[in-house]
């Protein structure tokens, strides 16, 4: 019970259901999230297709034994430069990922529920301008605030099909809300009322995914997954705000244990985000691009003790204000500690992230802590 209490404390202490943010998240449906564990993050996402506690490949669920629960907290510290404007000191603490899974007794099946960010859309921007109303030139201050995200609630089932082959499938329920505030102030005029409008935009969508994990030899595994998401529907109250076509995604990866204490993993992902562009453009939005992402990592350390995890990742970003596609490069590190006789694991990862392109440059630190317990 104390273990569960710790998990609950971690959950309650964070703003729910949000993840890492970015200046590039102003566009499109937001900044895409990564449904992976702290371990996978520390390894640059290289183990995303092999890690049972990540939500990329449902086949990995098949390897889950007794009930385990994971909760995590992530803090980002950001600076960015865009079109000669330098912004420093941005910070957020979020709850990016949660996971629970267990095997089904006397069957080759396991199932898992996970909760992650699909796209984060939080910003608070203030601009000054002047407008002409009734023949009079007036200064205005506009404030646009967005707070919220689309979350990905996944229900997955894994099947130990035959020895060394696991398959899995999952259903993804995309939902979320964004509190959108638009204010316009007329600081130099008493003739005009300030405009303040607040809306809660609700979003919903569905997705399915499937994956396979195959270990031809004990020291090596290969994995692949595919995911197809439908449309993200947006509405305010009963008003339909439109929909955005969501991508089909593919991923493939390789895991090698070259030594009992050395594990290497790499994962490549392809997301066909360009399908969203027509819908985004129709709403005055941004360009959308198909993306590649590849992450690799090495984990040093045995089954017990404190491992050292190192990783790197390169990714293209899906949304841009121009025809130039921005990219992201990161290096990562992390470790883990076990407690309570192995029934609790505390993991930490740190990422140094560099995003560039489309006239902006962003530098960020992302710190993630995760606690996994086996009640």
């Amino acid at each position: 019970m104390r273990l569960l209490l710790v998990v609950l404390l971690t959950l309650v202490g964070s703003t729910p259901a949000l993840a890492q943010n970015s200046v590039f998240g102003v566009h499109g449906i937001g900044f895409p999230g990564r449904p992976i564990s702290a371990r996978a993050r520390a390894l640059g996402g290289g183990t995303a297709l092999f890690d049972a506690r990540s939500a990329v490949n449902p086949a990995t669920v098949a390897s889950i034994g007794p009930l385990l629960v994971t909760a995590s907290s992530g803090t980002s510290l950001r600076n960015f430069t865009a079109l000669d404007t330098v912004v420093t000191g941005l910070s957020e603490t979020r709850f990016p990922y949660a996971f629970a899974g267990t095997m089904v007794r006397s069957t080759p099946l396991s199932f898992a529920l996970s909760y992650s960010s699909y796209a984060e859309r939080s910003f608070d921007q203030t601009t000054t301008d002047s407008v002409t109303i009734r023949g009079e030139r007036l200064g205005v201050v506009d404030q646009l605030i967005s707070s919220g995200a689309v979350t990905d609630l996944r229900a997955a089932i894994g099947w130990r099909l035959i020895p060394r082959v696991n398959v899995g499938g999952a259903v993804h329920l995309l939902s979320g809300s964004v509190r959108r505030v638009a204010n316009r102030f007329f600081p130099g005029s008493e003739s005009y009322y300030d405009m303040e409008e607040t809306n809660k935009i609700r979003m919903s969508g569905l997705g399915i995914s499937a994956g396979v994990l195959f270990a031809p030899i004990q020291q090596m595994s290969i994995a692949a997954s595919i995911r197809s998401d439908t449309e993200l529907k947006s509405s305010v109250d009963a008003l339909d705000l439109g929909r955005v076509d969501l991508p089909i995604s593919f991923a493939g990866g390789l895991f090698i244990q070259v030594h009992p204490s050395i594990r290497l993993a790499t994962t490549a992902e392809r997301h066909l985000w360009s399908s969203a562009e027509a819908d985004l453009k129709a709403a005055g939005g941004a360009y959308a691009f198909d993306t590649w992402a590849i992450g690799s990592g090495v984990e040093l350390g045995g089954e017990s003790g404190i491992p050292l995890r190192l990783g790197t990742r390169y990714a293209e970003l899906p949304f841009s204000p121009s025809l130039e596609q921005a990219t992201e490069f990161l290096v990562s590190a992390g470790t883990a500690m076990e407690f309570a006789g192995g029934r609790a694991t505390l993991e930490a990862s740190v990422e140094r992230i560099m995003r560039d392109g489309a006239g902006a440059e962003e530098r960020a630190w992302f710190l993630m802590f995760a606690l996994t317990v086996i009640p």
Binding site: R2, L9, T10, G13, S14, T15, V23, V26, H27, I29, S73, T75, A82, L83, T85, V87, L90, S91, E92, T93, S122, F123, D124, Q125, T126, T127, V131, I133, R134, D142, L144, R180, A182, R184, E190, S191, Y192, Y193, M195, E196, E197, N199, I201, S234, L241, G242, R243, V244, A283, G284, A286, P321, S322, F339, A340, L346, G359, A360, F369, L371
Partner: protein
């Protein structure tokens, strides 16, 4: 287990630290959401309208307006409470004695407003029958504002609003004082050019209008001694000729007794329900030149109404310090369109569909001036009331 629990508490502490505020870098790094402003005149914005008279009768107004030289002339009328039969002989007022002789009377008047840019003026005081009351009309008093009843006159120069001016009346001005114990006076204005002056009336809580009597009494040692006593106002008002009625398609605001107008507003839902109204101006086209004292102005204020029950609709009062913003000012004789800010009435309708979508127009200094604004009603073929609305359409979109 101690370490993870402590760590969770640490995470709790850091979870509240957040700063996502940044300047907007537009258009590249701003969201596609744009705040747009629409400015339009809605000609059919007033659905129904009507006006009613009698809200504040002339003798309940806070001021009386005395004019000369204009299209309408008006006189002040003041009746004072009866004087005491005896006055105090000693300073402690412990001993009373009869009045032996009356030397004079003094009346102090507080100026509320006067015609701007005009020079000296003279006030003439006339003896009126003590029977004057709210039923007394201008026609009734025409025969009393003549030379034979003029009992005093005083010239003034450099008078401004809030000044107090005094008029001295001879002691023999009221031959019937002994029987009546009361006096009533009429006041008219004389000026080289058309002008007006407004005096505060006893209806104003701060006003202490009274008449002072300067008398002689028998003192204790058998000598005559000068003493004073005074008595407050029993009735004060002003009279003027009947004003021609407004046309059938015209509505009036102001005048005395005062008239108010009620307008039922019918703006399109996309403006009043979905959008944010940031400025709304009511446009009223005069049906005839503005009535009033020469050089005077009339300020019309628009107020929301709490319930639509016709002429007795309760109003949602505009604070006094906002009158200058939420009102329109026009001059006597003007035929210009009157613009009145009604943003404070219309803007709240978006968030509360239960609010009555109507407004009421009334004059400031209500009932105390001749000023009346008559405008074309919604049934007028031309020049019907319109609304100039500036609004921000919904800014929300899916991206």
């Amino acid at each position: 287990m101690r370490l993870p629990a402590s760590l969770s508490l640490l995470l709790l502490a850091t979870a509240c630290v957040e700063n996502v505020t940044s300047p907007g870098i537009c258009p590249d790094y701003c969201p596609p959401t744009r705040i747009q402003i629409v400015d339009t005149v809605i000609m059919a914005g007033v659905e129904r309208d009507s006006s009613y008279r009698g809200y504040l009768p002339t003798h309940r107004a806070a001021s009386m307006q005395i004019t000369t030289g204009g299209t309408v002339e008006s006189y002040g009328v003041i009746r004072f409470i009866r004087f005491s039969e005896e006055v105090a002989i000693d300073s402690a007022a412990s001993t009373l004695g009869p009045v032996v002789a009356v030397d004079s009377f003094g009346v102090n008047l507080i100026v509320e407003a006067r015609s701007p840019g005009t020079g000296d003026f003279e006030l003439a005081v006339f003896r009126l029958p003590v029977s004057v009351d709210s039923t007394t009309t201008y026609a009734d008093l025409q025969s009393t504002f003549v030379d034979s009843t003029e009992i005093a006159a005083a010239s003034f120069s450099g008078v401004e609003a809030a000044d107090t001016i005094a008029v001295i009346i001879p002691g023999d001005a009221f031959p019937t004082l002994e029987e009546d114990s009361a006096v009533a006076v009429g006041i008219s204005m004389r000026s080289v050019e058309p002008a007006y002056v407004d005096f505060q009336t006893s209806n104003l809580a701060t006003n202490t209008l009274s008449i002072t009597r300067f008398v002689q009494v028998d003192s204790a040692d058998g000598q005559l001694a000068a003493r004073t006593d005074n008595t407050p106002v029993g009735y004060d008002s002003f009279v003027f000729p009947d004003v021609p009625a407004a046309g059938p398609a015209a509505l009036g605001v102001g005048g005395s007794p005062s008239a108010r107008a009620f307008l039922k507003i019918a703006l399109p839902p996309r403006v009043v329900d979905s959008s944010s109204v940031i400025r709304a101006t009511l446009l009223l086209v005069p049906a005839e030149p503005v009535l009033g004292a020469p050089g005077d102005s009339i300020r019309i204020v628009a107020e929301g109404i709490a319930a639509d029950i016709g002429p007795k609709s309760p109003i949602k009062q505009v604070p006094d310090d906002s009158i200058a913003v939420y009102s329109g000012l026009t001059m006597t004789g003007s035929t210009d369109t009157l613009r009145i800010d009604v943003t404070h009435v219309i803007a709240p309708w978006k968030n509360d569909s239960n609010l009555v979508r109507g407004l009421m127009l009334r004059a400031v200094r209500e009932g105390g001036t001749l000023g009346e604004f008559r405008f074309n009603s919604s049934v007028s073929a031309v020049g019907a009331p319109a609304l100039h609305v500036t609004f921000v359409p919904p800014v929300v979109n899916g991206n």
